[in-house]
């Protein structure tokens, strides 16, 4: 049984990073008129990054505690 937090954390971190970078690069793009001028890519990206890193951190912690128990 693999720890499901690891693959999910990894995927969200990578996607979040990608989306954050894309959001930063397209800051003044007219396509954000669709979302009322809100840079939704940047915010969603950051949210995903935080969530992904949180899961990775938890998965890392549980792996560490397993090692010390053995």
């Amino acid at each position: 049984m693999i720890d499901i937090r690891f693959p999910i954390g990894l995927m969200f971190s990578l996607l979040g990073l990608l989306l954050t970078l894309y959001g930063c690069l397209t800051r003044a793009d007219p396509m954000y008129q669709k979302s009322f001028g809100v840079n939704i890519n940047l915010y969603s990206g950051l949210l995903m990054l935080v969530f992904g890193l949180f899961l990775l951190y938890r998965s890392f912690l549980s792996r560490k505690s397993k090692k010390t128990n053995n």
């Binding site: 009322f36 939704i40 890519n41 969603s44």
Partner: protein
Amino acid sequence: MPEYLKLRFDEKTRGFNAISFAVMTIFASGISMYALALLMETLLGWDFNLSILISAIIVLLYTYLGGLKSAIYNEVLQFFLIVIGFLPLVFLGLHHVGGWEGMVARLDKVALNGGYSAGAWTSTWQYSGSAASNPMGVEWFGIAMGLGFVLSFGYWCTNFLVVQRAMAADSMTAARKTPLIGALPKMFIPFLVIVPGMIAMALASDPNSGFLLPAKGGSYDFDKVIPLMLGHYFPNGVLGLGLTALMASFMSGMAGNVTAFNTVWTYDIYQSYIRPGASDKHYLTIGRLATVAGILVSIGAAYVAAMFNNVMDFLQLIFAFINAPLFATFLLGMFWKRTTGNGAFFGLISGTIAAALHHGLTAPAGAASLIKGGWLGTILHGYPFGKDG
């Protein structure tokens, strides 16, 4: 599931259930296929027929490559993806209609224009005293007993997908908790799906909002609400995320149903009645063939789904035919010792016949074909508003 019916009742009950269950999985996977193709058509601009073909091929590959474990992992992953992908939709939509109060005010106007009291679109129970006073056309008893009792218990306690996941649990306690724990994340989904739907309803009736819903069967084409809203509010980037989340969920829905069809066909029908006692290898081949056949028939079911006003109508119809009689049989079988095999069998059959009669004598608004209802010729009651629909 058919296995339990065999243990508790008898062989014929199991056989009947296996067949009706196989039919249900095909329709359910057809609905997911239709939704997936509609999504591709709306957001990517692909031809509908081509989209159906592509989704069939993707699911075929997906089912061959993955097992139960990968399916479960994928479901957890896609739950978070849906939440994060749809959250911005709720915020942007609410921003557009002027917050929650703005949405309620707009929906009050929609309700008044439709001939209802102002709060009919935005309150749950207040206008459910009679079917004619709310736009759903159902009174409180139907909501509480039909949706709340029969269909929701039927889903959480006898649905193949839920039970299959309970079987994969590592302990008895964990298995017993499955429906309870499963229901928790499911409670987020209404906020992410129903609120955008209400926003879409508020916007579509306002010609100045810039958001249009295409018509279908005398009403809006509700199946297109989410794809259209994604396209309306999301710039490139998040749009891809929302698209991926939806595609992943439709695909896993389809794959789950096709796998269920494969299992029921191979174990409960083929191995039990058509050719018992063959080698494992033979059954494996039959299972593979069943997967391909199941997907092919699902394509047909997807076109049937396209004929309905919206997939919710179709899904409830299937549930009424298959889940509701099954739930009643299970309930009596579990809690009443004197239920016999014959009783269960005829209960299942008469439940299905009752659903068929009801389907034959009623029709939803805008029904033009007999698949939607009224195939007995005389329509005694139309939905949602009495005789004329």
